[in-house]
């Protein structure tokens, strides 16, 4: 029996992908030539790549000035927004996100959903935050009288996370409008990806930000309109791509990190002003701190990517060296002093992520990446979050080298530079397109560059290796993500509005692990190479755009040349499950017959019970205990070493297979190649005729003795 896990198979495939060309084409000359373009798939890939439209990455242009008031824990700001109506529609109003108002009081939709589903907001004046729009002008004319709050999702009158500005003159197609806004943002104590902690200020979702105008047909819309949802407990963000120029004034003992490139720093009496510029991004977040350590390093592709690896990618995707090449990136780390020693681990993780994401989905296009270690104790509030060209990481003191963090978090958050940053899906409505894709992609890297992860519990900050005490083996990332699929077990669909899942746990399962497992399944279904090509094409075609699930499906179908409605309808848009099981197996001895049989000589009374010859009627019943169906192979093994492999589409609750052979069935294995990772219970996927209780007895005895020792310890306290 091939004793490898599915994760190992996937890892082996990618290792092969990267290494095989290195083994075969080792000469320098060979690596310089164009890859052979030999297959129709490659041609299709090139056609799809060429089909990529120029992105409309300058629909919005913000020029923002912000001043940090450390006494008030507030940002006084103003921006000038230039918006270009690239749609064929006439736009009569503008909708803005006012995310910070989610933290204004306990009646916001965010707070109400929070107290319903997980933690309530702490009651403390610094726990609350808001954004006040003080002034609005359209093309220089006062427009505050046209400014109102709206609640498009739940009509909660207390929620002020979306504002509407009615335009006195509707915006015609292919025309622009200039809006100016003066605002004050009061930062809350660190919560939900933003806020302050001591002298560290993390400004995210901090300014009034325009929603996305969607035309009819865009993202499957029936009519044109703004996509500008309220801020919910389970949702993230969605905005247009554009250019940002951000000027941030802070006290002179503060350092600032921000999305984009630092253009200059101006000193004034008692303050410093930082100017940043970012292009082709859909958000800007920044950090100001007097407590953190700033370290600058650089990702040099030559130090991380071998020529053979580059060549393998060129061959797989039919690209030129220039198309496949990665670019250097300046890395700016903001570290807590107590975590400074973990800088090397973060740096390595970021570089590995840049390497593999770059090789698989195209080079990281921005010149900088800012990496923020969250303040002490705030990892849950503002750690592990992504913004364009800026990520927050997560770490812990005394983190063993074989623990999942910090590498896992850092790689995952960098991955969002692709799935969310470059491919800007709507996180409100289809969170799996960023979280699920990123869980899948960053998990591949983790399984590729790290050994299986050890589970640690913490006793008074000290990590304790759970695997050592329980005999449970360390996990691969693919195994870890599959847990979400098992726990969900058909409770929710992958594609839903973020605030419409059963609860927060279900949102998490259906946004992260479960869709990642679905992608692993698609990879097995289509073949790893085809799937890898499709992923790259999708990443390339929708760079700086807002794709949907159906856009992704379309790419997969084009690359694979197959219809995938059956898969998406059941497992992405639907909530079907797969659980195949061997229900029963019997082998009846036909040679031992007694009674009247019709033979050539007529009716005869026969009694063959003493014959030596054997003939068995074997009946195998396979059950589909899940609600969906998926084609599956079933291997039936007989005691004369004969094997039968049959296929079943799983469309009916059960199926019987009958064989009349001179041997009994000894083993039945559903999905012998372990292709079906979405089967929620593989323990019932096999059957053997030989009753063997060695394992169950061994674990029963281990359990018995463990319980005996626990009881003896308890009673030993008494006597």
């Amino acid at each position: 029996m091939l004793n490898v896990t599915k994760g190992e198979l996937e890892m082996a495939w990618f290792c092969w992908l990267i290494c095989v060309v290195a083994l075969q084409e080792t000469s320098q000359e060979d690596t310089q030539v164009e890859p052979q373009r030999f297959s129709p798939i490659i041609e299709l890939v090139q056609a799809l790549n060429q089909d990529t439209e120029e992105p409309d990455s300058s629909r919005v242009r913000y020029r923002i000035r912000a001043e940090l008031d450390t006494e008030m824990k507030a940002i006084k700001g103003e921006w000038v927004l230039n918006y270009h109506n690239a749609s064929p529609d006439t736009i009569s109003d503008l909708h803005f996100h006012l995310y910070m108002n989610a933290f204004k009081n306990e009646r916001s939709t965010f707070a109400l959903e929070n107290s319903e589903s997980y933690q309530p907001l702490p009651i403390d004046e610094h726990s609350f935050g808001y954004v006040d729009v003080l002034d609005m002008k359209v093309n220089g004319l006062d427009a505050m009288s046209q400014w109102t709050f709206i609640q498009p999702d739940d009509q909660n009158p207390y929620d002020q996370t979306v504002g509407r500005l009615v335009l006195s003159e509707p915006l015609a197609p292919d025309s622009s409008v200039e809006v100016t806004c003066t605002f004050v943002t009061k930062l809350p104590r660190a919560i939900a990806r933003t806020g302050f902690h001591n002298d560290t200020y993390f400004a995210a979702q901090w300014f009034p930000k325009l929603g996305v105008w969607e035309t009819t047909g865009f993202r499957n819309r029936n009519e044109p309109g703004w996509n500008c949802h309220q801020f919910h407990a389970n949702t993230e963000f969605y905005a247009d791509y554009g250019e940002y120029e951000v000027v941030i004034a802070v006290p002179d003992d503060f350092d600032v990190g921000c999305s984009g490139r630092l253009m200059r720093v101006d000193d004034a009496a008692g303050s410093k002003t930082y100017t940043f510029s970012a292009e082709k991004v859909h958000d800007v977040a920044w950090l100001a701190s007097s407590e953190m350590i700033r370290v600058e390093r650089r990702f040099e592709p030559d130090q991380w990517v071998t020529d053979a690896e580059l060549q393998a990618i060129m061959t797989t995707h039919g690209m030129t060296r220039e198309e496949a090449a990665l670019a250097p990136v300046d890395l700016i780390f903001f570290m807590q002093p107590e975590h400074e020693a973990q800088l090397d681990r973060h740096f390595r993780a970021v570089c590995l992520a840049m390497k593999y994401f770059g090789l698989w989905y195209g080079a990281y296009p921005y010149p900088t990446l800012t990496c923020v270690d969250p303040p002490y104790g705030q990892g849950r509030a503002i750690g592990g979050m992504e913004y364009p060209t800026l990520i927050t990481m997560g770490s812990h003191w005394l983190q063993p080298s074989d623990a999942r963090s910090p590498e896992g978090v850092t790689i995952h958050e960098f991955g969002h530079q692709y799935w969310y940053g470059l491919v800007g899906n709507n996180e409100f409505e289809e969170s799996w397109l960023d979280e699920g894709f990123n869980t899948y992609s960053s998990g591949l890297i983790m399984d590729l560059v790290h050994p299986p992860r050890v589970t640690y519990a913490r006793f008074n900050q000290v990590p304790i290796n759970i695997n050592r005490w329980t005999r449970v083996e360390p996990y691969t990332d693919e195994q870890r993500t599959r847990v979400s699929l098992l726990r969900d077990n058909g409770q929710d669909a992958v594609v839903r509005n973020g605030w419409e899942y059963l609860n927060r746990s279900s949102y998490g399962r259906n946004s992260y692990g479960k869709p990642a497992t679905m992608l692993h399944q698609l990879s097995r279904e289509l073949g790893a190479e085809t799937f890898a090509r499709a992923m790259r094409i999708y990443a390339n075609k929708y760079r700086y755009k807002h794709p949907t699930s159906s856009d992704y499906q379309e790419i997969l179908e084009q690359v694979a040349g197959r219809d995938l409605d059956w898969f998406f309808d059941q497992f992405i848009y639907g909530h079907k499950t797969i659980d195949y099981a061997v229900r029963s197996v019997s082998s009846r001895d036909l040679s031992k017959a007694i009674g009247y049989l019709e033979t050539d000589q007529g009716r005869e009374f026969v009694d063959t019970s003493g014959d030596d010859t054997s003939l068995f009627l074997s009946t195998i019943t396979i059950q589909n205990k899940g609600s969906g169906s998926y084609p599956v192979d079933i291997e039936i093994r007989f005691d004369d070493d004969h094997k039968e492999t049959v296929s079943w589409d799983g469309s009916y609750p059960w199926i019987k297979f009958k064989y009349t052979r001179p041997a009994k069935v000894t083993e039945v294995v559903i999905d012998p190649t372990e292709k079906l990772v979405i089967d929620v219970n593989t323990l019932n996927n096999s059957w053997r005729s030989k009753y063997d209780n060695t394992t169950s007895r061994a674990w029963t005895i281990r359990s018995l003795i463990t319980i005996q020792h626990i009881l003896q310890t308890l009673s030993g306290v008494l006597s």
Partner: protein, 308 residues
């Protein structure tokens, strides 16, 4: 009497009471078996006809672990409830057996089984109250220390430089924690022993006596604890090592046999330890103040609340 002599005498006393050890072992085995049966049923159902069983004889693959635990989540809830109920009943019985055990260890002669159970009943209330007082005291001390340790380590994390900070910095905290736990548990031991040694009858008096004795002889108490625990850990560890390394013992009966031997050894070891504490306490404390013959039990008050 030094701690080593006391410990040897404790062993001699424990070995002279095999029927009590047998009762305690049966008590342990019976309850453990009852608690294991539902889990064993799940294992048999899932594995005995499954090829997956071959993958987890020695270790548990993560995917099988997650499937097993998630799919039996509902069953585990009822098992968990049964487990908790079983443990509570077990502890009540252990509580009941404590008086008889300590009485037998303190007595000059070997009690009969009937006398043993008579002592169990006789000391039940006194033992209950003194145990409750001891646990409250111990809990208070340990919670205060644990909270303090947690707070201190959190401060250490803030001001240290991550992994560069030596890992062993936490060890002194745990050493102090272990010493403190030892101290409060020994106080409880000696307080219970004070009850079966006849005087005093009231829980608070017994507790104060136990506290005073532990305070007076901290090093010897510690030495006895290290010896008692060390011997048990060494022998049980050696048995477990032998079981996992001797190929002939890897079948079902090997672990079962070794497992029972280790449990039995722990029972004897604990009896020997308590027996040595009896000798130690009797030897150190003026006999007039402590030791009255166990064969002359104190009269029980009509109202159990008088104990407190």
């Amino acid at each position: 009497m030094n701690f080593l002599t006391a410990y040897m005498k404790g062993w001699a006393r424990a070995l002279a009471l095999p029927h009590i050890a047998l009762i305690k072992w049966l008590h342990n085995l019976l309850f453990a078996a009852m608690l294991t049966v539902p889990f064993a049923g799940l294992l048999q159902n899932d594995l005995d006809h499954s090829l997956s069983a071959d993958r987890l004889l020695q270790t548990v693959p993560y995917d099988i672990y997650t499937e097993f635990t998630i799919h039996h989540d509902g069953a585990f809830s009822s098992i968990h409830l049964a487990l908790m109920s079983g443990v509570i009943v077990f502890m009540l019985l252990a509580w009941f057996l404590a008086g008889g055990t300590l009485g037998a260890l303190s007595a000059e002669r070997r009690p009969t089984t009937a006398e043993f159970f008579a002592d169990c009943a006789k000391y039940f209330w006194s033992m209950s109250w003194v145990t409750i007082v001891s646990f409250l005291f111990g809990g208070l001390v340990l919670v205060l220390f644990y909270g303090g340790m947690e707070w201190t380590l959190a401060r250490v994390e803030i001001w240290s430089s991550g992994p560069k900070f030596p890992f062993w910095i936490t060890w002194p905290f745990y050493a102090i924690f272990a010493l403190l736990a030892t101290f409060v548990l020994r106080v409880a031991d000696y307080a219970r022993l004070a009850v079966v040694s006849c005087e005093p009858r009231r829980a608070l008096s017994a507790f104060v006596k136990g506290l005073a004795f532990t305070w007076r002889k901290p090093l010897s108490t510690l030495a006895l604890w290290v010896t008692g625990l060390g011997v048990v850990v060494a022998v049980v560890g050696a048995m477990a090592w032998a079981q996992s390394h001797i190929s002939g013992l890897t079948t079902w009966w090997g672990p079962l046999l070794i497992g029972q031997l280790t449990v039995l050894f722990r029972i004897f070891g604990r009896m020997a330890w308590m027996g040595s504490e009896v000798r130690f306490m009797t030897d150190v404390t003026p006999r007039a103040a402590v030791a009255a013959p166990v064969t002359e039990p104190h009269p029980e008050p009509a109202d159990p609340s008088e104990y407190f």
